[in-house]
Amino acid sequence: MTTVLQFGPVLVHLDRLLWGLMKTLEYAFLSVAFGTMIGILGAVGRGFGPRWLSVIIAAYVELIRNTPLLIQLYIVYFSLPLIGMKFTPGTSAVIALSIHLGAYATEIIRAGVESIPVGQIEAAKSLGLSPYRIVRHIVLVPAVRAVYPSLSAQFILQLMGTSIVGAIAAEELTAVANNLVMQTFRSFEVFIVVAVIYFVVVQAASLLLAGLGRLMFRWKQ
């Protein structure tokens, strides 16, 4: 039984792992951007839209939050081509990841919107602010600020969630790791190295998000 860990054969492929990491970060960044947009629209639609819209948004949120991301990936990847929308695995992954995060972001931001006192909105109305400016400055910005910690925790989970997009043949860190397993036969070592990479990136991203939050919501500290 040879149980000695050998990291050498893995570390010579570090460049490929780092390439995979770049793809992981790309999926995470794009889906966080799109997902947050969906979340803002969803929360505003639920809070201020007509009744039918708010029912549709609620159904979307419940459906996504009660089914696994993996199944959502499969649906986007396998079903969209049937209606003529053929995408690369990478694009499919970003679409599915964005729809997924959008539901969570909607729910989180909605909680923030609900925490805004009605009096604050009424005060803005009585000052003659336009509806757009009320929604943006009086509701959304304070709402997002209030839920920023939950939101950034969700972003971090999204970053780790990208690890499963290899299931639809999208290239990222975990998928590269699986290729290296076939190539080097150093399976356990590969995943130790990958775990370390994820861990470092997750810690860095947490710090970055916390710093960004401090920068964006600088007033009233």
Partner: protein, 229 residues
């Protein structure tokens, strides 16, 4: 072109795979709950090294993807002289991973019990474990309950990730059926429905508990992290 149509047999095949999803979720819930209790106790233990160990444990399991943990357990088996086995790896990973999340949930509830309770118990001559067991936890249970039920939803959903190390449950059964029928809408629609049927009642129950316990509660428990996948 498809080899088979999506009929009742194909539907039944995916539905029957739900037993493995449920079994893995139960293992994760029971085992993870037990580990979580220990982790939570270590997190609030008087001895600092114990708290460090628990913190490192939580940091690892919350700071790396579940899939990576699954692969490590799967491939790590041969390192200690066992043949890689999807079920053994999945059970181990879900128990340990669940333990970290439950640990954080339980700790949140334990820490929201007023400090005076600890001091009162100490003044009665109770040591750490007895205080925790007889004084703190019984009061903290009602705070733990809503996030615990909420986390069960996350567990059920995350069992799908185990399909990627070759464990047959709903997600993998669906992929297998999709390969022969190529009816993705029906196949993954069925799979979604199964997961939804398992998760939605739990979600509703969790938010019901949250509302029920929120009334008349002085302290709010910090919102637990939700697991995404």
């Amino acid at each position: 072109m498809s080899l088979r149509d999506f009929g009742f047999n194909e539907f039944w095949f995916i539905l029957m795979a739900a037993q493995w999803t449920i079994l893995l979720a139960l293992i994760a819930f029971v085992g993870g709950g037990a580990v979580g209790m220990v982790i939570a106790a270590l997190r609030v233990a008087p001895a600092r090294p114990l708290r460090w160990v628990a913190t490192a444990y939580i940091q690892f399991f919350m700071g790396t993807p579940l899939l990576i943990q699954l692969f490590m357990a799967y491939y790590g088996a041969s390192l200690v002289g066992y043949r890689p086995d999807a079920w053994a790896a999945a059970a181990l990973t879900f128990v340990l991973n669940g333990g970290a999340f439950f640990g954080e949930i339980f700790r949140g509830a334990i820490e929201s019990i007023p400090k005076g309770q600890w001091e009162a118990a100490t003044s009665l001559g109770f040591r750490f474990v007895r205080t925790l067991r007889l004084v703190i936890v019984p009061q903290a249970v009602r705070l733990m309950l809503p996030p615990t039920v909420g986390f069960m939803v996350q567990i059920v959903k995350s069992t799908s990730v185990a399909s990627l190390i070759g464990l047959t449950e709903v997600a993998r059964a669906a992929v297998q059926v999709n390969t022969v029928t190529f009816e993705p809408v029906w196949v993954f629609g069925t799979a979604s429905l199964i997961y939804f049927a398992l998760c939605w009642p739990l979600s509703l129950y969790a938010s019901h508990l949250e509302k029920k316990f929120a009334t008349g509660m002085v302290r709010k428990v910090e919102k637990p992290l939700v697991m995404s996948v």
